[in-house]
Symmetry: C2
Subunit: 908 residues, 2 copies
């Protein structure tokens, strides 16, 4: 230990530290300045940015020994407070710069450092700055961040008043609609670093809290012969080492397998007992007073393993000599079929049709949220075990883990924290059951915060599809038949692997009028990372495969890809692959609207291409459903309080996508007759003690939970309406014996697919058409996306800041998926840089969005969802643009330079 | 555990708490809002004030279960920041409202609540508010706090601009002098709650820190037969239980006994081994991960005691059958004599002189700082044990504890934290050696924070004097002789008990020209709380005794007390009791100046007295020395840095008295030729690695360490002076090969008393004349001080805010000493209320100060000290005023109502 006299936010502080401790840890855990976040923890993301002696520094890589006495440190807390926002913070709110908000303090500190040095940066200067300083954002696509810096700079130059940045309610008081830039309710807390994420709350738990450290498998497949905790138990600070023997229930996560699944869905242990199924699997957990003590003891736990062959891909797991990963369940454990129209074989056999066929392999994409996975739990004084985590399906996860833990329904509650992004990985339980087990074993509050390598190696990933599509078209270009055949590598755990496989037959070719379809998908168990949801879930993979083959068909037909799509776009009364009529047929309208831009882009690409750098334009179109699959429902209540505030209570998990705004915006719109000031509406964080709203995934929440909020508000309007006009106040309602709390339930009449893939899986869909413009450097194969034009029909828009942000951010992830992101190599890909995280210069500053607001019958006030659509459409347009630029067809994402080079070679 | 959703400083926070935890603990230890202080911990001091749902609340007594969800909490951090001060905070700085600063956040929060409710309070409204809400301040005498609230209210009403509250440097740039209200350098940190005291830093220590809990004696005297830690060692979280067996050295605090002391000064154990000597003595220490674990295990340590008779007073310890408390050393272990002029016996025997004689008993006054004792320590990476505490004598304490711990000189360093007041109790080591022992035994950072009962029961107290004085005067009133005889109850530990006894012969009757003096003082060992320094140290007790007898003599002579004092006040060339010529003979000048006020006060008292309430006026005068005793010296250095700042480095401990301002003001004055902006001067916290400056007690620091600073600055001026005029900059000095660091040493040629009490113990003295006006309620005996007029000669004034604050605050303590404060009953007096802490309504809003600035030869720029003088003069004037009002003579302080009633009865 050493002492340092430093000046933090203008205040001299004597700090007593391990000289090897990082500044970030000291700021957070000792000085309790929790606005400084730890993301990657290795200098790759900037969430921990501070200004150190006037210069921007990533505090997670600054060791305390490097600080001189007198060092000046500015953290986000020193920039502004909720009561006194800095212009940068006001601009961040105005532009919706904070979605999950986890990167926000680091960006704001970074922007402060930039503007301290240069009050008149250009947009490109701002982008260079954020690139140089590795400021990573996973939500926004960076565009609103640059907007915010440009506006803040204006204020700092005196060209704009700071107040001009603040939201002004329009005269009619509305905050719903595509003209509404009402800031989300959590914005001020996010831009000031005062919102508390799980890892922050862990620091703030009572003094008897215990830090958890996992003992994890370092192999991908093994039998467990023994677990020896005896030496570790004697180590300092160790309170308990928890193994499967301490689990009170059946120690299994319930994967909620479909009836036709060949497994029972209960193959995933809470803590490994007989086998290790994937790298990182948790075998034991040390609960100790401090992180250092927990980690030291975890390293001392001895595990005796019989290593088995690791099946890290579909071919390996399907090989004839492969053993069953879960003994008794075949490695191919689920089949899904689709049969629409007539048999397709004759079309392909006849020979008079043009046939296009290709096999595409998609990636095991890592979600790479800025915030690593974290959770904490405790025994409530009412006797229940409470676990707070990044769950985006609190009620769902409770069902999945309660039996495994041996807890009755009223003895377990799950709550979702403010979260630094999930993008779907938290549709699966990760740490919840492990934390609960430790809480139960120790009786004390326990917390588990992953480092970034654990986030990468031991949370679910997007499951790769190995997919083959055959299309048959008449010579005039009219599609007549499609055949699909695909395997889904879902890793070792089945959870929703069957559901994901269903998505293939729902979305392959779904944008087109294809009268005859046959297809088969299979779910495959492997020893690579388990499959979890990721934005676009299945639609991403399905439409990547089909949109590439569609482009190939246009090529075969010598038709322009736009022409081909326009000709075959689904129009009334055609049905989708599941023989369902659509809720909006907007493709033709969107294609027509994009056409002039497309023509211009083609011309520009031709003009801009050089001998070394080829420019190209690619198109794609597609859709995604808003819902779980089949029938779906959600619940909410609204409650008027004495102070005039109204709680909008749901279990709508906010992982940064804007549940707060979704709930408040929908309620406000519905309550228009009551003329409620928007700040009177209070959002609730998701909790299993709230109404069952279903998970926040699959773009279902605005539709389903928004629907429940609408119904609850309508019930309140009816209940509080006065005969004389106007509405009862709280006091009046109480006096009149009227309720002040109103429930709302909303359901949709969906129909799950039958054995032929026929049904109405979703009652609301989103649609999009996307054009990407790229430059490919021939010598290196490096692809740069120059511009994205993305037209969407997501029904009526609730809030523009939210949907713009979701789309920009989703496009950025689509670019990452197309070009860089991967988690195939467990070692190489375990960091943000290794995993191909897209930084600001990887994302064009030019992403043009347009909304085609066709009202949805089943959406509240006509709204559909938004989150998944940008991961269902843009990425194939990038692959198609690479082909347009170079003639090289990349058949596996990410289209890394080496893959593009290889495709260029194959073409020749 | 439960969850509460509360709004703290405008930010919604989910907190997870023990429902029995107090809000103060949760704010501090979980939410890390360390501006909220814990003082008494039982609702008696307001240091923990917050605004809860719009109302002021003492957060140390608010249990979390009492908070509703949605509760709004405002702490000092939500009121303003160093960068953005609230008008209340600016006014607090302007008026020097923060001395030690520990009560400051609580007062500022309280003032905010008041001004939120009432923007136009009268001074009396403010006083009523602080009284009603039990806002306790121990430093300021409350006057500047009311001033600050009145000014802040003006700003909030819009009658004054906030900027008008801010300090403006005069045109000539000076900050030295009685016209200077330059705010002390730590002011902004104190008013914003951002300065970190020991208990705050304990919260901020690295995660491997251990909480210490003492196993303390619950009896006052016992032999220790055994200490059984076996059960406690197995309890959760316990890392180590430290007993005397773990101490590496001789386990003794070195009390630095005088050679003529009958003990060796090494009777105090670090941790008790063979005996318990007083209630609260530490027998063992549990070091555990959390406070709860440490306390639980401490309660489980079993101590086998043979209880011995407890000698809790001088008569008990001197009784013939009393055993030796420290076997081998008599209970009366030190004698001090004074012999001036001729033998005195003949004067008293002759019978032609008027003789006055009385015996007065002073109190075991508790210091009652707002901040309970605290410390922490760790092993530095350089191998040394570092202990941070409230030490006001870091080098002194190191000498006292190093051998006991078995640490070499370079293996122990002591550092003083920002402190919430000591008023002298930390002139003794308290926890330093115990913390060091635990650090050595565990190798981990350890901290020990007392609760208020521990502060009261297990820190040193002002030692009671049992004193008899006989005066002989001619019939014309001229004093000719004095005899004194006194015992000092120093508790069980000798540390400085001999020195304290010396003070009796130095200050009894020291204000008068008494040609013949004989006296004897004795130091007595008892089993009550050990004696430690307290402002006025010895001078307080000595002059209380002699000033009462002086008043009695005037009464006997039928002379007005002013006339008697004026006649006998020491004038040149008379010498003091130690036959020393004074450095300033200001009594006559001060008495003349106070005379018109005295006449007016007497008239008003007569007019104001009623049958039930008697008013009276009392006088007292006295002095105190600035120094340790005999020769004294101090060291400092000043160092110019590249950024133009100058470190003023000393080990001048700041316990709230203003070491920061003392060092900076003295340096600035000396460096006038260099025209240094005052903010360029940097104060250092005391540390044994700094130059040896001696302890911050006995009002010596401004003289001695101020002198060293002056010399260092003069050396810098000489070293950096350019031949061409002006001074070298840092770069110029480096280029010219000149030093940038300059040492300064200052010594005074004092002479300690010889066996006859002759010497020059101090080369600089302070003098004062005080008049108190009181009202006594005859039915109850309750005394109220209506006004205090205090004229002082403290030489030249460095900074007016500091000296006004020291005097107001000291007068308030003198009132407490006179009327309410006591620690005789170990149980009853263990709280602030029980100990008689003076609240605002106990202190008049009218304390008039006047400075007679006679420059001191040995004071830097003519300054003397200030801290002790208000506890050497005002308190006897109150006792004399009670007599003047009622004719009742109270002979024991505090003059509690029952003692006044008894004196009234005795008079009759």
């Amino acid at each position: 230990m050493i002492q340092k006299n430093i000046i933090v936010n203008g205040v001299p502080r004597n700090v007593f530290v391990d000289q090897e401790a990082t500044l970030a840890k000291v700021l957070r855990e000792q000085l309790h300045l929790l606005g400084t976040k730890i993301g990657c923890g290795e200098g790759m993301c900037g969430a921990c940015n501070v200004i150190l002696n006037g210069k921007l520094a990533r505090s997670c890589v600054v060791r305390m020994k490097r600080l001189d006495d007198g060092a000046q440190i500015l953290t986000v807390e020193g920039i502004g407070t909720p009561q006194s926002l800095h212009p940068i913070q006001r601009a961040w709110i105005k532009h919706g710069g904070a979605q999950c908000g986890y990167c926000t303090p680091g960006f704001i500190v970074s922007a402060k450092a930039l503007l301290d040095a240069n009050k008149s940066p250009s947009r490109e200067d701002v982008r260079e700055w954020f690139q140089k300083n590795r400021n990573a954002c996973r939500c926004t696509g960076y565009i609103p961040l640059v907007d915010a810096v440009m506006d803040a700079a204006k204020v700092l130059r005196g060209e704009m008043k700071a107040e001009e940045l603040d939201y002004k309610l329009p005269a009619d008081g509305h905050i719903w609609g595509s003209d509404s830039y009402y800031p989300r309710p959590t914005a001020a807390a996010k831009v000031t670093g005062t919102i508390r994420y799980g890892g922050d709350i862990a620091v703030e738990l009572p003094p008897d809290k215990l830090c958890m450290a996992l003992v994890q498998a370092k192999v991908s497949h093994a039998n467990i012969k023994g677990i020896d905790t005896s030496a570790a138990e004697k180590m300092p600070g160790v309170v308990k080492i928890v193994t499967h023997k301490d689990i009170k229930g059946n120690n299994r996560i319930n994967g909620l397998a479909f009836p036709s699944n060949k497994g029972d869905g209960k193959e995933r242990p809470i803590l490994c007992d007989s086998k290790v199924f994937q790298y990182g699997d948790a075998i034991a957990v040390v609960c100790a007073a401090t992180e250092a003590e927990a980690k030291a003891a975890a390293a001392a736990v001895k595990v005796d393993l019989e290593v088995l062959p690791a099946y890290l891909s579909v071919p390996a797991a399907k090989a004839p000599d492969a053993i069953e990963i879960h003994p008794g369940t075949p490695n191919v454990y689920y089949y899904q079929y689709v049969r629409k129209g007539g048999e397709t074989k004759p079309f392909f056999d006849k020979g008079d049709l043009v046939v296009a066929e290709d096999t595409i392999i998609t990636s095991r994409t890592p979600h790479m949220p800025l915030e690593p996975d974290c959770a904490f739990g405790f025994v409530h004084d009412d006797g229940a075990v409470i676990v707070h985590s990044k769950s985006i399906g609190v009620h769902l996860h409770k069902v999945m883990i309660a039996e495994g833990l041996g807890l009755a329904d009223d003895k377990l509650h799950l709550v979702s924290n403010p979260m630094g992004g999930t993008f779907g990985y938290k549709f699966s339980p990760t740490n919840e059951a492990i934390v609960a087990a430790c809480v139960m074993a120790t009786g004390r509050p326990c917390y588990l915060v992953f480092d970034y390598h654990q986030q990468m190696q031991y949370t679910g990933k997007r499951s790769p599809f190995y997919g083959t599509i055959r299309l048959a078209a008449q010579k005039d270009g009219k599609l007549v038949a499609m055949e699909s055949d695909y395997d889904v590598d879902h890793g070792p755990y089945c959870e929703f692997g069957d559901l994901l496989t269903v998505r293939g037959v729902q979305f392959m070719g779904a944008a087109y009028d294809i009268p005859n379809i046959r297809g088969e998908g299979r779910t495959v168990c492997t020893n690579h990372s388990w499959g979890s949801a990721f934005r676009g879930y299945g639609g991403t993979q399905a439409q990547l495969i089909s949109e590439i083959v569609v482009d190939e068909m246009a090529e075969k037909l010598k038709m322009d890809p736009w022409e081909f799509r326009h000709k075959n776009a689904i129009r009334p009364p055609a049905t989708n692959p599941n023989s369902q009529t659509l809720d909006s047929y907007a493709y033709v309208e969107m294609l027509d609207a994009i056409k002039p831009k497309y023509d211009e882009a083609l011309k520009a690409a031709k003009a801009g291409s050089t001998a070394t750098h080829k420019k190209g334009v690619g198109l794609a179109m597609g859709s995604y459903g808003c819902g779980l699959d089949g029938p779906d429902s959600s619940n909410a209540y609204v409650e008027l309080h004495a102070d005039g505030t109204i709680t909008v209570c749901t279990a709508w998990e906010d992982h940064g996508q804007g549940a707060d705004m979704g709930a408040v915006g929908t309620a406000h719109k519905t309550l228009t007759p009551m003329a409620v000031a928007p700040e009177r509406l209070k959002f609730t964080w998701a909790d299993t003690r709230n109404p069952v709203s279903g998970p926040a995934g699959g773009s279902r929440s605005q539709v389903m939970t928004g629907g429940a909020v609408r119904v609850a508000c309508e019930n309140m309007l009816a209940g509080l309406k006065k005969d004389s006009g106007g509405y009862l106040t709280y006091d009046e309602a109480k006096a009149a014996g009227k309720p002040t709390k109103y429930d709302g339930t909303f359901s949709v009449p969906g129909v799950p697919l039958d054995e032929n893939g026929v049904g109405k899986p979703f009652m609301v869909y989103m649609y999009g058409v996307c054009m990407s413009e790229v430059t490919v450097e021939l010598a290196t194969g490096k692809t740069k996306v120059d511009k994205v034009t993305f037209f969407v029909d997501i029904g009526k828009v609730n809030n523009r800041l939210v949907v713009d942000g979701q789309l920009w951010g989703g496009v950025a992830q689509a670019i990452g998926l197309a070009l860089s992101e991967d988690f195939e190599d467990i070692e190489k890909h375990k960091t943000m840089l290794g995993g191909g995280f897209p930084y600001i210069k990887d994302i064009p500053d030019n992403i043009e969005l347009r909304y085609f607001e066709n009202a949805r019958e089943f959406g509240p006030h006509g709204a559909a969802g938004v989150g998944e659509i940008p991961l269902c459409v843009p990425h194939p347009s990038i692959l198609n643009a690479i082909f347009n630029a170079t003639g090289a067809r990349v058949r596996r994402v990410p289209a890394l330079p080496e893959r593009v080079l290889e495709a260029l070679k194959n073409k020749a």
